[in-house]
Symmetry: C3
Subunit: 297 residues, 3 copies
């Protein structure tokens, strides 16, 4: 009967073991025309063939774009997801290799170069650790100077996601203030005027996404259908100015007409119904780009 | 011994449980430069980390293209596969959110806008259900007006694929006749002449794919190597006219020469051996495009 | 107690069974705009829903590019990984359908057209087998003349990766010398001059990758920071000539300046720090392209 009890215990623990694995999500600027991404995945599956591996994007255009794509995505993944992020123009310099754990329990493995600016701000920093590259490095890779993505980041992340190392075993803790952040324009309301940054475009459609939250916009008490004055700037240069109505859905304006709406991140955005607003008016995104929305008196 | 029998039963059921999951296949027009597809997958894995998730394409160019890509693909997937299809230019209008089950047991989750035209015609409609968005919606997403793909379609599809809801729990049944279909030219034979639509191009190579089935073509009793008169139209405009031989394989014509052949869907197609027929002759695809094949007397 | 022992045996074998599956990695030139890749995956999952399926790339530009991407990737995957490779311009001709097992235990399923040139040379040929297409072919696919990728290669590879057939059951053994290889320029040192081929570019960044191994380069006893004479040729035509320093990391040269470095495959490469060397100087890759590196006296 003792053996039977052990059996029952094993049976109970089996599914737990299976579920203990955390998803491993890759984000890079490598594209998918060569074998770099696949080599990283091979290293990860070599650590555990049971890993759940998924791609965020391999077409990231820069550090701020990457920061925003993490911000757009991470909260929809289960807790303890491990994001491997290799947008690393400073590879080979003294930039640090780190793992960040945010307060909502997600892990971010990559260079300390600003990629985690937005997730750290929204979720809060739980702990930041420096990867000990003497220990957490693919065996036999010491002679390779350049492919941190495969030999350090994918390797360490797979160890972490599969539970083969703890977060503490990544390496020594760093002060939270060591996390590099990129400055950008935050959303702000002054009376009837709201300003906010344009961190990215919704690239597939050309919609212009601000970082103005719906909750701040609601303070203007705008009625559905009410037109607002919109000015879009690049630095100090006015790029476009237009009166645009606020609508719940694209279908409520004619094809080819603009609307202000709440996007999938619950932020204010501007679009043309079945058109490309950014191309139509030459709008770009990034740290220097911002918009002003004014309610008419 | 009773406990032992229970154990044996559990052991027998364990693999069944593991195999009960249905594949979840995503098709969108989002591209993969931002985080939208990954957010959908995160929601799905949040429902069950054991889901088998795969991508059909995220580069779909329109509703008819999407309809054809489903038609090209679904029959090769195991029964009960759940396809999440987000090509949704009418999002936010009164278009319905539905789940279609075809008679071969596949599920299609998405907007009722014509995307299922071709699979419904080939496989037959088993049941059509309206998604009850009050119940089948990601918790906390009620304030978001626009991302049905993530909050309704991916969420409902993951519930269905993981067996957490039945098809009946999707929502109320609709009459089969409520399924939206897009009109297009069907294949037809009159004597020695066959006409048929050009739903898509084989984009990677520029081959021109018709919807003329091999079985209809066989009625012309064409010999291998026999040249046929081919006319290609866009609406009423003749785009190209050429005599082209019928061959079993590309290798049977010289490099750069055209052939009529049976494509991987067992339909008639036209290609240049190691060339791009569509670019060479300005051929397009879609509901308006068609071809005529005539056997010489 | 006998039943109990059987149970314990089953429990011990269960995880082994789960781990016995080999990864299945797809590489094609199909792109991902249509359903061809997904149809192949559907066929594979139909054979076993427990397969671990991953993508190497579907943007391969030719046979030599494919050969190099396999070379760049396969060694980082666990032993017994099955690579399905469909870059097949000669489909339909008499080219053979084969499975290669290299001495390091990897499997390569595809056309015998040179795709395995570089992995066979590095890893060694263990056994080459001709696919018996009468047996190893998707049931019901005999009438389709063209989609070997789905009906023969994906089908056979999934059978092999899931353990449903042995390597021997693929078909009859061929002499190792039957494997087709593509000629290209090997790395060679004569005194202070090393020449080597440029098989591919690091496409995302425009870095120029040679096949000169670090070990051969080390024989020149170059100091870090020492400039070398570099000449880049296409056939007999000199495309570019420049003095370039050897550095361990990109960060050790100013932005926009060139460096010679050791890439992630431990071969010599040339790059511009945060620039595109290939575009800047019109460098191409392939069997005809090569470079000469000379140490100054």
């Amino acid at each position: 009967m003792k053996a039977l009890k052990s059996l029952l215990l094993i049976l109970l623990l089996l599914p737990l073991t299976a579920f203990a694995k955390a998803p491993l999500v890759f984000m890079t600027d490598f594209g998918v025309r060569d074998g770099a991404v696949s080599a990283m995945k091979g290293v990860a599956y070599g650590i555990s063939p049971d890993l759940l591996i998924s791609d965020l994007s391999h077409e990231i255009t820069g550090i701020f774009d990457g920061a925003y794509r993490l911000y757009q995505t991470e909260e929809f993944w289960p807790r303890s997801t491990v994001f491997v992020t290799v947008i690393d123009p400073g590879v080979g310099t003294s930039r640090q290799s780190v793992v960040l754990r945010t307060r909502n329990g997600q892990y971010f493995v990559g260079p300390n170069n600003g990629l985690y600016t937005l997730v750290a701000e929204r979720e809060g920093i739980d702990e930041l650790r420096l990867i000990d590259e003497k220990v957490n490095r693919r065996p036999g890779s010491a002679g390779s100077y350049t492919f941190h993505g495969r030999d350090v980041f994918a390797y360490t992340a797979a160890k972490l996601a599969s539970g083969q190392i703890t977060f503490e075993q990544v390496g020594p803790r760093l002060p939270n203030s060591d996390l590099i952040s990129i400055p950008y324009r935050h959303a702000e309301r002054q009376g009837d005027v709201i300003t906010g940054g344009i961190p990215v475009l919704d690239v597939a459609y050309g919609n212009v996404w601000s970082n103005i939250p719906q909750s701040m916009f609601d303070e203007l008490k705008v009625r559905v259908g009410e037109p607002l004055n919109v000015r879009i700037y690049n630095g100090t240069k006015l790029v476009h100015e237009e009166r645009i109505p606020y609508q719940h859905t694209f279908g409520n304006v004619p094809v080819g007409q603009p609307l202000i709406y709440v996007n999938s991140l619950m932020n204010i955005a501007i679009a043309l119904n079945q058109g490309n607003y950014a191309v139509a008016h030459g709008i770009e995104s990034g740290g220097e780009c911002w918009m002003e929305i004014q309610k008419s008196k």
